[in-house]
């Protein structure tokens, strides 16, 4: 029995490693194609990797670049956003993403955030979800350690400093835990997508009688809200909301 399990684990490991090797060569081939100017070929190869069930910020970044070279605005923006999700601080992704945004027709003025919201965003964006989880666990252990030291120690000075340290760690722990929870719920609630329609009208109500509020063009990042039959409620970065009918919006969420 144990042998069987071991064997299967080994097979699994082997498979993944083979897959990894294969994808790595595909990735290199795609890069060569990109450099040679064969962007369609590069896109095809990058997508092959995606279909095999692997991804990375670099992969999305390269794919987005290839789409940018092909002048496909919506795809390019979509994959830059995907790359940003995995690696929000990478400078290359931010700069090339701005290039793709330049190409889009709509330039939407982003609502100014209050100072507090900015700090909040900054704090939340500091680590990924996993990062926050690991950090929280680490802090829990630190807290326990400091508390134990405080309890154990007899020398007043040390005891006092350990107490203060434990208290500080406890506060930080609670903070990170709440940030992690908030981040998680946000990720679950917020659903962003990229508009793929060349041009679409946004109506005030989910019916064809209602007045058209504004026009959107491809490549616009929208927040997906409610849905009613074939109508989808959206919000754009400047805070405007509206309904669009049978729009092609690709969600940025992994699923």
């Amino acid at each position: 029995m144990r042998k069987l399990v071991l064997f299967s684990v080994m097979v699994l490991l082997f498979q993944t490693s083979v897959l990894g090797q294969e994808n790595k060569t595909v990735f290199e081939n795609a890069n060569t194609a990109y450099n040679a100017g064969q962007f369609e070929q590069a896109v095809m190869l990058y997508k092959e990797i995606l279909e095999s069930g692997q991804h990375s910020a670099a992969l999305y970044f390269n794919l987005a670049n290839a789409y940018y070279r092909l002048n496909q605005v919506a795809e390019s923006i979509f994959y830059f956003e995907k790359a940003k999700q995995l690696n929000p601080t990478d400078e290359d992704i931010i700069i090339n993403g701005a290039f793709a945004q330049n190409m889009a027709i709509d330039a939407i003025e982003v609502l100014p955030n209050s100072q507090i919201t900015q700090w909040e965003e900054k704090a939340i964006g500091l680590f990924s979800q996993e990062g926050w989880a690991y950090f929280t666990v680490f802090l829990a252990w630190m807290l326990a350690l400091f508390w134990a030291l405080y309890l154990k120690n007899r020398i007043p000075l040390l005891k006092r400093s350990f107490f203060v340290a434990a208290l500080t760690v406890a506060l930080v722990f609670l903070g990170t835990l709440s940030i992690a929870v908030v981040k998680f719920s946000r990720n679950n609630e917020l659903n962003y997508g990229i508009l793929f329609n060349k041009k679409i009208e946004v109506s005030a109500e989910p019916n064809s009688r209602s007045e058209a509020l504004f026009l959107l063009h491809e490549g616009t990042k929208v927040e997906l809200l409610d849905q009613l039959q074939e109508w989808q409620k959206i919000r754009i970065a400047n805070g405007s909301e509206g309904w669009i009918k049978e729009g092609t919006i690709r969600s940025l969420k992994n699923n």
């Binding site: 993944t16 990894g20 994808n23 790595k24 990735f27 890069n31 990109y34 450099n35 990797i49 995606l50 069930g53 692997q54 991804h55 990375s56 910020a57 670099a58 992969l59 970044f61 390269n62 670049n65 290839a66 940018y68 002048n71 605005v73 290359d92 700069i95 090339n96 290039f99 945004q101 330049n102 190409m103 889009a104 027709i105 709509d106 330039a107 979800q129 996993e130 926050w132 989880a133 690991y134 929280t136 666990v137 829990a140 252990w141 807290l143 326990a144 350690l145 508390w147 134990a148 309890l151 154990k152 992690a180 998680f184 063009h217 992994n254």
Partner: protein, 588 residues
């Protein structure tokens, strides 16, 4: 005699002439249309004398005068002309389409008939016209007509309206001026200048007239439905021959002023068909060509390029807007410069209109110029057409600070370098760092909860452990007992084993006591005497009583080896030893 011969000669001549010319016998009507209260004059004219004139029945008419007979016979340059006329004056008795039937006459034994004439009798007119009055003459011989090229045009389809003045003898027009020019409300109109009025020959209702084109306009209807065109009124000064003659026998011309109007016309304007109407249709009607021209496809940032949207062809060029250019908002776009190069002729507007956009890209990158669609309706083919410009990409290179005119400042040059490297399009990444898309999340997993709660449980355990220690140290009685137990185990173990054997027991007990002291007080075995022990113990702050009990115990051990002792005594000593040791142990 002479009188008798002349007619005879005439007769012979006329006979021969009539053979050559042929005989005519016609009915001539003064008007074809008349009111019920007007009169009609009918002349039956023949050019040869005849007999047995039989008038028609004149059904529907009443004969109010006639028949009057008149004969004219003239001889001009050896050519004789003869005419004999029977004249009737009739009044219609009923409305409608009436006819004057055939009249017959016998000339030279042959019977000639007139052709039947049709007459329309209308309602009674206000003022019965006198056919000889100048008014009547003017009415009959002067017409102002508005000719419309297409009375059922589409909205924005060009139509022309031409005002023509027809007149004929005996009228002569000496002056004319417009009293009221028509206002073309609901139309876009353009007047085509006529440099000089020209009299031409024309026909009006099948009869020859002189004609003057007074006014030409091109109209583009702007509304659907029935639109009326207000009439044009002309004030004319007309010379008319009167019945009076001057000294030389010429007729005296009579001048009269007259205002004529071309009647009000209505035009039925059709709406453009809804079927197949493109979404981006802005009202262009005609035949057009559309183009979007970009003058540069690659340029540096902050340089400018131009996009020209041009529509050329025939149609309502001045009456529609060019399609809007949709550009990425990051480009700086200036208001387009609109130029029109349109000539309006009788067939409508022709030429081209242009919107010239000047665009300045601020940042480098690629900017797609999305195709612009222009739709128009062709009224000839009755169909919509959409023309599309091709999609183009404008490539902007060089950073926003690329400015050639800066030649004095090095800092800018350095900055420019930096900004260029900062803002150029980055190359792809070469390290894949691939990971599975569906990754097991650590957050919310069992392991995560386990790891996050484990330290708290451990801490709790630690606290409990400490608490237990605390309790133990606080419990005096219990602790003594535990201490004694421990000590007895350590030192009195051997003694306890030998509780049955008196000699061995006391030996072991004594040794245990010494051992205890040795280990506790670090006394060397050699100088063990009771006084010495007492001395040491005093030093250790033990009371006399305690020291005494210890020494007594030692003494007991020595004595008991040689004296009989019961089991009970042994047990008692053992207990005492235990008590003494634990007592001392606490103090030391």
């Amino acid at each position: 005699m002479k009188n008798r011969i002349l007619p005879f000669i005439f007769f012979v001549l006329s006979l021969t002439l009539s053979m050559a010319q042929g005989v005519s016998f016609d009915a001539k009507l003064s008007k074809r249309t008349l009111g019920l209260n007007e009169r009609l004059r009918v002349d039956f004219v023949m050019n040869e004398n005849g007999d047995n004139f039989t008038p028609p029945s004149f059904s529907g008419f009443r004969v109010v005068g006639g028949p009057n007979q008149s004969i004219s016979n003239s001889w001009v340059n050896g050519k004789r002309s003869f005419s004999k006329t029977y004249t009737y004056f009739l009044t219609p008795t009923q409305k409608g389409a009436l006819s004057i039937d055939q009249a017959t006459i016998k000339i030279d034994g042959e019977i000639y008939k007139t052709t039947p004439q049709k007459i329309t009798v209308t309602e009674a007119v206000d003022i019965p016209r006198d056919p000889n009055s100048p008014e009547y003459l003017i009415d009959d011989n002067l017409h102002l007509v508005a000719e419309i090229s297409n009375p059922r045009p589409y909205v924005n389809e060009a139509i022309t309206i031409v005002y023509k003045l027809y007149f004929r003898n005996p009228l002569r027009i000496s002056d004319a001026r417009a009293v009221e020019n028509p206002k073309f409300a609901d139309f876009w109109s353009h007047n085509i200048d006529i440099p000089q009025l020209k009299v031409e020959d024309g026909t009006y209702e099948g009869e020859p007239y002189k004609m003057v084109v007074w006014k030409k306009s091109v109209l583009y209807p702007q509304k659907t439905g029935k639109l009326s065109i207000e009439p044009l009124s002309l004030n004319l000064i007309i010379d008319l021959p009167s019945n009076r003659r001057d000294f030389f026998g010429n007729r005296i011309l009579q001048q009269s002023s007259r205002t004529v109007t071309a009647g009000r016309r209505t035009i039925n304007v059709k709406a453009l068909p809804e079927k197949g109407k493109p979404a981006n249709f802005f009202g262009a009607v005609g035949q057009f060509d559309f183009d979007a021209l970009i003058n540069k496809n690659a340029l540096k940032a902050t340089e400018s390029f131009e996009i020209k949207l041009k529509v050329s062809g025939k149609g309502n060029l001045k009456l529609f807007n060019l399609p809007q250019l949709v550009l990425p908002n990051t480009l700086e776009i200036f208001e387009p410069e609109h130029t029109e190069n349109v000539v309006t002729t009788l067939s409508g507007m022709q030429g081209s209109i242009e919107d010239n956009y000047t665009i300045v890209p601020r940042f480098q990158g690629k900017y797609p110029i999305s195709p612009v669609a222009f739709s128009y309706f062709d009224p000839k083919k009755e169909q919509y057409f959409t023309l599309r410009s091709s999609e183009q990409i404008v490539d902007v290179y060089g950073g926003p600070l690329a400015n050639n005119s800066d030649d004095n400042s090095t800092p800018i040059a350095i900055k420019q370098l930096l900004s260029n490297t900062d803002e150029s399009f980055r190359f792809i990444k070469l390290n894949p760092n691939l990971e599975p898309i569906v990754k097991k999340a650590f957050w919310n997993s069992k392991l995560f909860y386990g790891l996050i709660t484990a330290p708290f449980f451990l801490l709790l355990g630690f606290v409990l452990f400490l608490k237990r220690n605390q309790r133990i140290s606080n419990d005096v009685e219990g602790s003594r007992l535990r201490l004694a137990n421990r000590l007895s185990k350590k030192y009195l173990g051997e003694a306890k084993k030998n509780l049955k054997n008196k000699a061995l027991f006391y030996d072991a007990l004594e040794r245990a006591l010494y051992n205890y002291l040795k280990s506790k007080l670090r006394i060397k075995t050699d100088d063990f005497s009771k006084s010495r022990i007492a001395e040491i113990l005093v030093k250790r702050n033990l009371t006399q009583e305690e020291i005494k009990s210890f020494l007594d115990l030692l003494e007991n051990c020595e004595l008991a080896r040689y004296s009989p002792a019961t089991d009970a005594k042994m047990q008692q000593d053992f207990d005492q030893a235990l008590a003494v040791i634990s007592n001392i142990d606490k103090k030391i």
